[in-house]
């Protein structure tokens, strides 16, 4: 088996892998390799031909391929190595990565550190066990996006969409522009799970109804999809008898959630958070394995690529510090806890002895939408470290905030994050 050695191997050449590689390079890592399974860099951004990317990071509105190309161009002017069409098959705990491609067959790469940036996959019909027959014409919204935007083919003429995830909303607009009748978006929750701006720009502007608290309870059709039965659901998300309605359609797109792709990380022994379904990390995005870092959608699912980039830069910088022996030798773990209104917080713990950065960047998602709330961060002495006003919080939009490093001292053992109603203060 062919063998090579690198300082840093990054698995995935999407937005996370690209930004992590560039940041590691800026911080003095000399031999960096990106392994990308697709024939192009850019990851899922290549099929996201709509605009809205980069508003935070570049302060301008870009399409997905444009956003990716900013990083790809910078990378092409660097000495970062890239292997395209290369699938990583195994990460071994002796810091060896086994990969395969057309040119080299199976080969081994030794590395000092590794960044996981494999992204996520879409939840399927099977996973949510939608009953009924098994015709063609049912696919995830991202698969449809790939057919339309990369292959130039339409998946159907009359489309129902299940789930108000962002890709589903984007595809509702995209297919409408192609002359497809998008009959509606069915969402089991009482709120839209995607970004508010996508609901407005992709559904409301095109007169596409969003049916909240509705489920698809059966699909019909033996060869090609012929229709679906929808029903209203109660607060336990169970279909309410008597509310069934048949909707004829030849296509059903699913936008019912994204799942970080952590099979490689799992096999390596990374501890996985049950909620995010990504590795458990500290503020440097180090997993429980000291030479393995994670960022982007493999860590937790983001709604804005701008946040992915920022997170990847944290991981890239930290990997560089690790490789260049700039990390503090000793660590003191501070556990991050949160109240029950919050679904998850990344990072799950922080190192009190890390003084590399002035601020600690947090990402969190709330469980339920709310308005006029306060985000409060307290430490184990019940001292309030941060108290921020939030006009609107909703599960579809990640909440980000920075905490000044000075608040975490060697005496801190935990910090707790809560979101509470304004008037309760």
């Amino acid at each position: 088996m062919k063998k090579s050695e690198y300082d840093l191997v990054i698995i995935g050449g999407g937005p996370a892998g690209l930004a992590a590689a560039l940041e590691a390079k800026k911080n003095g890592v000399s031999k960096i390799l990106i392994c990308e399974r697709a024939p192009h860099l850019g990851g899922i951004l290549n099929q996201c031909i709509h605009n809205g990317f980069g508003l935070q990071y570049f302060k301008e509105e870009l399409t997905g391929p444009e956003y990716a190309s900013r990083f790809i161009e910078e990378l092409e002017n660097s000495d970062i190595d890239v292997k395209l069409g290369t699938m990583v098959m195994e990460i071994r705990d002796d810091k060896k990565v086994i990969a395969v491609n057309r040119e080299e067959g199976m080969f081994q790469i030794g590395t000092k550190a590794l960044i996981l940036a494999m992204g996520c996959r879409e939840r399927t019909r099977g996973a949510i066990t939608i009953p009924g027959s098994r015709p063609s014409g049912i696919m995830t919204a991202g698969t449809a996006q790939s057919y339309v935007n990369l292959e130039g083919y339409l998946p159907g003429k009359e489309v129902a969409i299940l789930g108000s995830g962002d890709i589903g909303l984007i595809m509702a607009r995209r297919l409408t522009l192609e002359g497809v009748n998008v009959k509606g978006v069915v969402e089991v929750m009482p709120y839209s799970t995607g970004l508010i701006r996508n609901k407005v720009q992709c559904l409301d502007d095109f007169g596409i109804p969003l049916l909240l608290s509705h489920a698809i309870i059966e699909v019909h059709g033996k060869e090609r999809l012929e229709g679906v039965t929808i029903a209203k659901v109660d607060e336990k998300l169970k279909p309410i008898e008597g509310t069934e309605q048949y909707v004829s359609c030849d296509t059903l797109l699913l936008s019912v959630g994204l799942i970080p792709e952590n099979e490689l990380s799992n096999n390596l022994g990374c501890e996985i958070d049950k909620v995010t379904r990504g590795p458990v990390v500290n503020e440097k995005r180090i997993t429980n394995i000291p030479w393995v870092f994670a960022c982007g959608n493999v860590l937790h699912v983001h709604d804005l690529v701008d946040n992915v980039t920022q997170e990847a830069e944290i991981a890239g910088k930290a990997a560089a510090d690790f490789i260049n022996h700039k990390m503090n030798k000793e660590e003191k773990d501070v556990i991050v806890t949160h109240d029950k209104n919050i679904g998850y917080v990344v990072p799950q713990h922080i190192d009190a002895l890390n003084h590399q950065e002035q601020t600690i960047k947090f990402f969190l998602r709330v469980k339920n939408p709310d308005e006029e709330v306060r985000l409060i961060v307290k430490d184990n002495f019940n001292k309030t470290l941060l108290n921020l006003k939030k006009t609107i919080v909703e599960p579809g939009t990640m909440v980000t905030f920075n905490l000044s490093r000075e608040f975490v001292t060697k005496d801190t053992s935990s910090i707790d994050i809560s979101i509470t109603k304004e008037q309760a203060q």
């Binding site: 099977g126 696919m139 083919y153």
Partner: protein, 499 residues
């Protein structure tokens, strides 16, 4: 077209009969109405090789399942088919009454010649299967049960027959059977007539319809529907053996079993249905199977999430409730293999041997001399994940398509998918690829590889992407090129859902 033997149905029985007879100097044609073989009952079942411990040895199916257990290992070895046997089974009980039933089952197993069965106390039971519900009290261990991949098995049997000269005609439906002087003459199909000296009815769910084309029959095929959950490979280690819930009146008990490929399969209930095409899953049945069996036996298994898919199989059970393997009563040259419900997959080799005997008994001027160049095996498909890294590299050097991973969940290369299109029985659609090489069988269910496999099929078959189907017939995946709809004139309906 004419042939010596015409087999109706490309399920495991039809394929086994083709394989059995292909060793002789006989012309064989197998016709299958679907676009692939293994598309009916053979496709959707428990994928088990039953030992026969819990089957009445006095019935025909009891005899045949026991006979087949003596044949299956050598057969799978010859055909390069993965078989795990013995794996063993445990029947799990919660109540005193279950224990009584288990004792009876054990007696039955001993009578059927199964050795090494053992009643387990609670401690032994949980030592053997630590993830079982702690409330499970009784166990019956039986060492002989095995598992197999029904697609691989059926396809291998048919491929071997084709390698030995048999013809398999897909998308070919028998419309009528021609009879002259109380003797079969051949069949009428949607693709023309085929003259045949002997006709084997292995039409599964439709065996009654085919048999009734020949004479009055005294049986009917009444489908019994069963629904299944297929779990993600990450749950593989939740069990070691094939697990039966304690038996009931209508079923050998529900099962939770590992598959050859490392998934967990769980089901199935039994529901009599009229419609032979009713492959719907229902939330009531799935909820009931989950509550009564899956979560009852293995509380850690989830209702959804790590589920790869749920599916329905239809057991081709006859109103006689036993296999019907016999010639027509009034017409010469016609043999029924009907009512093949569970354990049909296991019994197939013995059924095929019986059928051979019945064909010989017809005395239809057939040449039963052995083929001079008979191949007892088949060239197995290349499966890279089964090979050592160095072997893979050597193959990739020869053909770089083996180094291009198309299906990321199951690590399947472009080369393996292209091979599946070129096999003796070619894969012509997305599901046919999935059944042969597992591309699309993993946790993304073809979300990522689907468009790529569709492109490979389009190129290899020389058809437009618009003509590629999910599972044959009219199950198209794509409906038009971009822009075609937006340019369409006229009164298209843009009605939205209204509540």
């Amino acid at each position: 077209m004419k042939t010596d033997v015409l087999i109706i149905g490309g399920g495991v029985i039809g394929a086994s009969v083709a394989h059995q007879l292909a060793k002789y100097n006989l012309d064989i044609i197998l016709v299958e109405k679907a676009s692939d073989i293994c598309m009916g009952t053979s496709k959707a079942n428990s994928a088990m090789i039953h030992s026969g411990f819990n089957i009445d040895g006095g019935t025909l199916k009891g005899q045949l399942v026991l006979e087949s257990n003596k044949l299956i290992k050598q057969l799978c070895q010859d055909l390069n088919v993965n078989l795990v046997k013995p794996l063993g089974s445990i029947t799990v009980g919660f109540e005193e009454t279950d224990l009584e039933k288990m004792k009876k089952t054990m007696e039955n197993g001993i009578k059927n010649g199964i050795q090494g069965m053992k009643l387990l106390d609670q401690r032994e039971l949980h030592e053997m299967e630590p993830h079982l519900n702690p409330d499970a009290k009784y166990g019956l261990f039986e060492p002989e049960t095995g598992i197999i991949n029904p697609f691989e098995y059926t396809i291998a049997l048919a491929e071997n027959a084709v390698t030995n000269g048999a013809k398999v005609l897909l998308d070919t439906e028998v419309l009528d059977i021609m009879i002259e002087n109380k003797t079969v003459k051949g069949v009428k199909t949607n693709n023309g007539n085929i003259d045949a000296k002997v006709i084997i009815n292995a039409a599964g769910l439709y065996a009654d319809k085919i048999a009734a084309m020949v004479e009055d029959i005294d049986f009917e095929i009444k489908p019994r529907k069963g629904q299944y959950f297929l779990y993600d490979k990450k749950w593989r280690d939740i069990l070691t053996y094939t697990i039966y819930s304690a038996p009931t009146k209508v079923s050998k008990g529900m099962i939770v079993v590992p598959t050859i490929d490392g998934n967990i399969l769980a089901g199935s209930n039994a529901e009599a249905v009229e419609d032979k095409t009713d492959l719907r899953t229902t939330s009531q049945a799935l909820d009931q199977i989950y509550a009564s069996t899956i979560s009852h036996l293995f509380p850690e298994l989830p209702r959804m999430g790590d589920v790869i898919t749920t599916f329905t199989g239809l057991r081709a059970s006859s109103t006689n409730e036993d296999f019907i393997i016999e010639p027509a009563k009034t017409v010469k040259g016609f043999i029924n293999a009907a009512g093949i419900q569970s354990p049909g997959l296991t019994s197939a080799p013995a059924i095929a041997a019986r059928i051979e005997g019945l064909v010989r008994d017809q005395h239809m001027d057939l040449d039963f001399s052995l083929k001079a160049n008979y191949q007892k095996g088949r060239k197995p498909p290349i499966m890279l994940v089964d090979l050592a890294y160095e072997e893979r590299t050597a193959l990739i050097e020869e053909n770089p398509d083996y180094g291009e991973i198309i299906c990321r969940c199951e690590s399947i290369s472009k080369g393996e998918i292209m091979d599946a299109v070129k096999r003796p029985i070619p894969a012509m659609n997305l599901d046919a690829i999935k059944r042969r090489v597992r591309a699309g069988m993993g946790r993304c269910q073809g979300g990522f590889c689907g468009p790529k496999v569709l492109n490979i099929l389009s190129k290899e078959l020389g058809i437009s992407p618009l003509e590629v189907t999910q599972k044959g017939s009219k199950s198209f995946v794509l409906t038009s090129k971009n822009k075609e709809l937006s340019l369409e004139e006229g009164d298209r309906n843009y009605e939205k859902i209204r509540v």
